[in-house]
């Protein structure tokens, strides 16, 4: 077999792919958050809509967008491959298995949190991304404001962000272990940066629906 494919198909290679795609998606979250924070400006959503317009028209961003979707898909498909292989590796289960005494809950919940994040992603893309890209909607800020006037969506997003953070709590530091960076020397640094990703970034996202629901007026009043 081609050495590259035998590398990518090895157990360590598959994990490496998981780690690199996961880290790329984590970095994307930072960019996404930076853009979203424009929603907090009291300018009737002008700054955010300009940003959305730029993201929708700049050719480099559009190429990166395709890459991003590809990486999401790769992360999912590769994750399923790993899951199936790992399931086959234990052909018969234990009568009693106390994995909970040795591992963190977030590490055991990765598949569940992944499935829930995917579910959230489908709703999320349908809600904001599809109207912007395919339905010719230019005023995404108003859609966001309108959405987060509804308590259901506020709660839905807060729960989803908690799950994203939960997935990253294991995933982010795990990516560095897979890359081989998690040595005694860098362990603390990785844990520290991980907090930014599993706690600070989801918290930053959570501020937006909370702010809109409790502190911003109606979308009609905001968007002239």
């Amino acid at each position: 077999m081609n050495p590259f494919f035998s590398f990518i198909n090895s157990s360590v290679g598959k994990k490496l792919l998981m780690s690199l795609t996961g880290l790329f998606l984590s970095v994307f979250l930072v960019e996404h958050l930076a853009g979203n924070l424009l929603l907090l400006r009291s300018d009737g959503g002008q700054a955010f809509n300009d940003y959305a317009k730029f993201m929708g028209s700049n050719p480099i961003v559009r190429i990166l967008e395709v890459g991003l979707l590809g990486f999401i898909l790769l992360h999912i498909v590769n994750g399923i491959r790993l899951w199936l292989g790992n399931r086959a590796a234990r052909s018969k289960g234990y009568g009693t298995y106390r994995l909970d005494e040795n591992t963190t809950l977030q590490s055991r919940m990765m598949k569940l949190s992944a499935a829930l994040v995917l579910l959230f992603l489908v709703v999320h893309l349908r809600k904001f991304w599809v109207p912007a890209r395919f339905l010719g909607e230019h005023d995404i800020a108003s859609i966001v404001y309108y959405t987060f006037q509804q308590p259901f969506y506020v709660v839905f997003y807060l729960v989803a962000l908690f799950i994203v953070g939960y997935h990253l709590r294991h995933g982010f530091q795990s990516a560095f272990q897979t890359l081989g960076f998690r040595t005694k020397k860098y362990q603390m640094l990785i844990e520290f940066i991980a907090v930014l990703f599993w706690f600070v970034v989801p918290l930053g996202f959570a501020v937006i629906p909370i702010y809109i629901y409790f502190f911003a007026g109606s979308p009609v009043a905001l968007v002239q």
Partner: protein
């Protein structure tokens, strides 16, 4: 002490297998877990039944022969011990104890609690060696190894290959074992010649044996009788990635 045991009994590799309940009577808290099983087996032999088969050899935690899943934990409750070092004082009178063999597709059950761990031997054969020229004894200080490096290699070399890492891992992954075996040679000057082929071949053999992938849950480190650190897995990953270029 009196205990109720639920032991996995399986005639041979092709048998379905099932849990059978036994009562262990007159057990001293100072007995090791294996001695407790010996007592149960003596009773079984007296009754004309087949004794429970389990692997064991040195019974002092250095050979890596023994190993079973006890109440859902590899080598039972407690840390840094093999099954032979587990004492009955870790249990209370009247306890029910589930005893099962290691579970992994790569470790087929041979009989009762005994599994076939030759997959580990095949991994070792694929690259867990150094090809040194034999001949005259080298001078003691001819090859300099700094103390921290020697310690790191020795920590990895403490692996006794019992298979608890595979048994404890939700994916039946052998990463901690392979990592220890790669690590112990990768950091030493004697291991440099085969540094890249070793890690590539050992990982390939590990995959061939159908061990799972590592999810970094670190259950292996927690159950390892020798406390092998998962930092060796990070080194294995580093070595493996570096060997591709």
């Amino acid at each position: 002490m009196k205990l109720t045991l639920k032991v996995w009994r399986q005639k041979d590799a092709n048998d379905e297998g099932r849990f059978v309940e036994y009562t262990a009577k007159d057990i001293s808290p100072d007995m090791s877990f294996l001695e407790m099983l010996d007592i149960v087996n003596i009773d079984l032999v007296k009754k004309g039944e087949t004794p429970i088969v389990f692997d064991h050899d040195c019974r002092e935690g250095i050979c890596g022969s023994c190993g079973m899943m006890i109440n859902g934990r590899a080598h039972g409750p407690g840390r840094g011990i093999a099954t032979c070092q587990l004492h009955m004082r870790s249990f209370s009178d009247g306890d029910e104890i589930m005893i099962e063999p290691w579970r992994a597709a790569a470790f087929p059950v041979l009989k009762d609690l005994m599994v076939d761990r030759t997959a580990f031997d095949r991994i070792m054969r694929s690259g867990g060696y150094t090809s040194a020229k034999t001949g005259g004894i080298p001078d003691g200080n001819a090859i300099l190894v700094p103390k921290p490096v020697a310690d790191e290699a020795f920590d990895a070399a403490a692996c006794i290959g019992c298979g608890a890492c595979v048994a404890a891992c939700p994916n039946s992954s052998a990463m901690l074992f392979v990592a220890a075996k790669v690590s112990q040679l990768a950091v030493l000057p004697q291991g440099q010649a085969e540094r890249e082929t070793r890690v590539t071949r050992m990982v390939a053999q590990m995959d061939e044996e159908k061990f799972g992938s590592c999810s970094n849950t670190y259950a292996c480190e927690a159950e390892c009788p020798k406390g092998i650190s998962v930092t060796h897995i990070a080194r294995l990953n580093r070595e493996f990635i570096a060997a591709q270029f």
